[in-house]
């Protein structure tokens, strides 16, 4: 049993698995996890919106769980397995959900999209047969000012159906 200690203002080296690769970078205790991922590891798919857990743009997968990366600190994440939008499909290919988003015009400016895609990855793993209400409840954790959500709901429902057929 030991207490991990990081002094205020002091930089330390942090190691995580990011999209399947061991990566390390520098952080100090107050550095937000989203800032660490963007500034230190160049994971620019992590979008920073409200910075207080409301808008959902910064949502990522930590150990498979969809969580905000703006209300946790880099210091908390050492040793975790992180997936950002860049890691949801092999480079150059699209996941079923991404393909459905393109088909249904489920994005316009695209700022909220990476966070939503991360949420959907966890959500469909837990809820492979969602109805529209479940999808809308899950989406309530994301703010999109372009689409009016309908196209996003349609894309997620179609992707879920396609994935069920494929599995």
């Amino acid at each position: 049993m030991t207490i991990l200690y990081r002094a205020a203002g002091a930089r330390f080296t942090l190691e995580v698995t990011l999209n399947g690769q061991r990566r390390s970078g520098q952080a100090e205790p107050r550095m937000l996890l989203c800032d660490f991922l963007r500034h230190e590891l160049q994971a620019f798919g992590v979008h920073v919106g409200c910075e207080h857990g409301v808008c959902g743009a910064c949502t990522i997968l930590v150990d498979g769980i969809a969580v905000r990366s703006c209300t946790q600190y880099a210091a908390q994440a050492d040793g975790t397995d992180i997936v950002t939008a860049e890691g949801l499909a092999q480079p150059g290919t699209l996941s079923e959900v991404q393909r459905a988003f393109a088909k249904h015009h489920a994005l316009q400016c695209g700022f909220c999209t990476p966070g939503i895609l991360c949420s959907v990855a966890h959500f469909l793993r837990e809820t492979p047969e969602p109805d529209e209400q479940r999808v809308r409840e899950m989406l309530s954790g994301h703010i999109c000012r372009c689409t009016g959500y309908t196209s996003i709901v349609n894309a997620i429902l179609e992707a879920a159906a396609t994935m069920r057929k494929g599995s």
Binding site: M1, R6, P29, R30, A66, Q72, Y73, Q76, S140
Partner: protein
């Protein structure tokens, strides 16, 4: 938006945590899921010298049963509690309240104990705890103590927790099989802070009279409150929803803020209490029919 610089401590054991709190409690903040403390740090509403991260203490993430209570560890996430069959079966009111707490993404990290320790007046978990007759378990180097929920919550963001104490667990009375429950709330958007919320638990006799009853209201006063329902015990169940909701509305002293006037909160108290009492009665009758 960045927090002030802080010392970061991550203990792995409860004993280490209480030792740290004994030393630094006055200027430390306990970080669990960070769904409330995170925003407060980022907005610099709080400026702690030290942050004590308890999110990796496995001993705080358990669900257990002791006698007539279900004990949920303070570090259990709201999602984990929502997935628990034991919670669904034995603490149905908590299971009903949890889908109202924030969103899928915040419940994945937000904890039961964090919500209770933070004590937002409109928070659902504190309200469910009050309406269940639950208990908050606190620990410090001075020892362990247990406080009944209505006693623990003092005011908006104010509780009986002392600076050297940590909320370690919540105790929920195990639900009898014939009990009925109801929970609902009104917010501007699903997952937002409730303008008003209500919870009810009830047991009926075979002749459809009220045997046990509890009604709680959240978001209306500066803390979740239990309505005095002693006058309704023994009454015919069919008579109580209208009278009880009027009684609840006349017994609250509502807050007023930018999202709602005091009058609106009084009106919501009446409507929401009537709804949860009706739901709880329906469920109790259904349970009774199933058991017979």
């Amino acid at each position: 938006m960045k927090p002030v610089a802080f010392d970061y401590y991550r203990p792995e054991a409860l004993s280490e945590t209480v030792a740290l709190l004994a030393d630094k409690g006055d200027e430390a903040a306990i970080l669990a899921g960070g769904m409330t403390l995170g925003p407060m740090l980022n907005l610099r509403v709080v400026r702690p010298h030290s942050v004590i991260d308890i999110s990796r203490i496995q001993a705080l993430k358990t669900i257990s049963v002791a006698g007539n209570v279900v004990i949920t560890g303070a570090g259990l996430t709201q999602s984990e509690a929502l997935r628990s069959e034991r919670v669904a079966r034995e603490v149905p009111l908590l299971a009903m309240a949890l889908p109202w707490v924030g969103h899928f993404q915040t419940r994945n990290r937000g904890t039961l104990g964090g919500s209770v320790a933070h004590a937002d007046p409109s928070a659902e978990i504190p309200l469910a705890l009050v309406a269940c007759g639950g208990t908050v378990v606190l620990q410090s180097r001075r020892g362990k103590r247990r406080l009944a929920a209505p006693e623990f919550f003092v005011g908006a963001l104010v509780t009986q927790r002392q600076a050297d104490e940590i909320v370690t667990a919540l105790e929920w009375p195990r639900s009898p099989p014939d009990a009925g429950y109801g929970f609902t709330e009104i917010a501007q958007r699903h997952g937002d802070f409730a303008i008003a919320a209500a919870a009810c638990s009830v047991r009926l006799t075979n002749s459809d009279r009220v045997e046990r009853l509890a009604v709680g209201v959240g978001g209306v006063e500066d803390r979740p409150i239990a309505i005095d329902v002693s006058g309704f015990l023994g009454q015919a169940a069919g008579d109580i929803p209208a009278n009880l909701s009027a009684h609840a509305a006349s017994s609250v002293t509502p807050m007023e803020d930018r999202s709602a006037s005091a009058d609106y909160r009084t009106a919501l108290t009446k409507v929401l209490v009537e709804r949860v009492v009706n739901s709880a009665l329906d469920m109790a009758r259904l349970q009774r029919a199933r058991l017979q």
